[in-house]
Symmetry: none
Subunit: 275 residues, 2 copies
């Protein structure tokens, strides 16, 4: 079975004329970068003419050059998605329990944070901590618990933290209280919920700043969001994993808490006394 273009080339290079073979070897030599450049550059690097390059990709079975490039890109994307772990990694020191689920989850988290700058987290934390207005949180079918989790913590260190629960009509009515000084934290991963998108749009129209937790494919809500956190969700399971988003949420909770010191600490003490 042939799964990559490199294998495809290796398979057919024997039956290629000289010029195309040079093209093939050039591509293999610095696979796959040359193939992502223009026909002109490719041909120059291989020392052949552009039509030869085009005949080369045609022989590989592609209709045209862009199609060939897309194929290369997809291959690359697939490689980048699954970090080196699979290529060469003994299941982890410590007699790895071998739970592929755990390994995938850890990868997801590393990957998620790799695409997430400290700066961005700090910006969001500041926005949540300055509390010029209220903070609303809501989530989808499976992610609403994350919204609750975050709300449970934030509500302790500052006032005006509201988790939007219950039916759609319930939260829609809360829109009336939401304005441009407020922040709305939304969790929405595939399959994205129309009701949430609608709600986000309305909130956005009212000037509410939206912080979106979503997956790497970005919920449509990203269009209205001021801040977008894209977490990796793929795991070897029937379900998507929200673990990476959960960790980001915890990190954010920690950052907000730190920013609210020492006020937050005082507030916590007061709260303890009230029990």
């Amino acid at each position: 079975m042939i799964s990559s273009i490199a294998e495809l080339i290796a398979d057919r290079i024997g039956s290629m004329p000289a010029g195309e073979r040079r093209a093939a070897q050039t591509l293999i030599a610095s696979y796959p970068m040359i193939g992502l450049k223009t026909v002109a550059e490719f041909s120059a690097a291989a020392g052949v003419s552009s039509p030869t390059i085009l005949r080369f990709v045609a022989r590989l079975g592609f209709q045209n050059y862009p199609e060939f490039q897309s194929s290369l890109q997809d291959e690359l994307a697939a490689q980048l998605q699954s970090p080196a772990i699979r290529t060469l990694n003994p299941p982890s020191p410590g007699g790895g329990t071998a739970s592929p689920m755990l390994e995938a989850t850890l990868d997801n988290m590393r990957e998620t944070f790799r695409h997430l700058s400290d700066r961005q987290l700090a910006d969001i934390a500041t926005r949540l901590a300055e509390r010029r207005g209220k903070t609303f949180l809501i989530g989808g079918r499976f992610t609403d618990p994350l919204a609750r989790y975050m709300a449970a913590h934030l509500a302790i260190i500052q006032p005006d933290v509201i988790h939007l629960a219950g039916q759609e009509s319930m939260w829609r009515d809360r829109l009336i209280d939401m304005g441009k000084r407020d922040v709305l934290v939304i969790f929405d991963i595939r399959r994205y919920q129309d009701s949430l998108v609608r709600f986000a749009e309305k909130a956005h129209q009212r000037g509410v700043q939206i912080v979106l937790f979503t997956d790497q494919w970005l919920s449509p809500i990203a269009r209205f969001a001021r801040h977008v956190i894209a977490g990796r969700t793929a795991v070897p399971s029937a379900w998507d994993s929200s673990a990476a988003l959960f960790v980001v949420a915890e990190t954010l909770i920690g950052a907000v808490t730190r920013q609210l010191e020492p006020d937050g600490a005082r507030r916590i003490r007061e709260m303890e006394e009230l029990r």
Copy 2:
């Protein structure tokens, strides 16, 4: 020092107008693949117009779009050359600008699973999957969202999954429905809640099998529990972390789902049709 375009973006995303920020977020979310495609595709993916994309790359300091793409390609090429660096590259180890929070969380998960045998997880999964009786879930102040999360999934693949919400009196009344064929999943970490302990004790007296998610110091409920999952919770933050427990929960959800195949799959399909 800024060495990658991703860092460059992270550095400047704060001072970007809304449209360009969307472009930035879209690029980061599937870094760097979108940037290798055409301006039209990029703009469509980001939901903005092509000029916005061009202004975005201009703001990053590139003269034109092709120059930007070349830069991305060079970066990719460098990454592909040395796969070793890619495994644990991001910031240097030890010097870690990277959130110590993340590192601690990852350690917690590894530690948690190291003390958790596959056998134990499989046993619990079996118990939850055989559904001779009902499954009840409940959590504490901060962990109840985990109970909800688990309930949301389990309820889809099998009937009689009940999340106990609301006030203490509410769930105490549900005790009447609970018997020795039923399972109670409890989440309880420091500071352990008396109300939960009391509830667990009563349930235990009625013969309910208890599955406890707790921290490494073990909630008093462990005395009544049939299965105890002890997760690490310590992180450099004002709060404890429930992330490790969250991952165990997800793993368990996955295991139960697998055991219920293909019945679960059929049930999911039926459910989809009902919407």
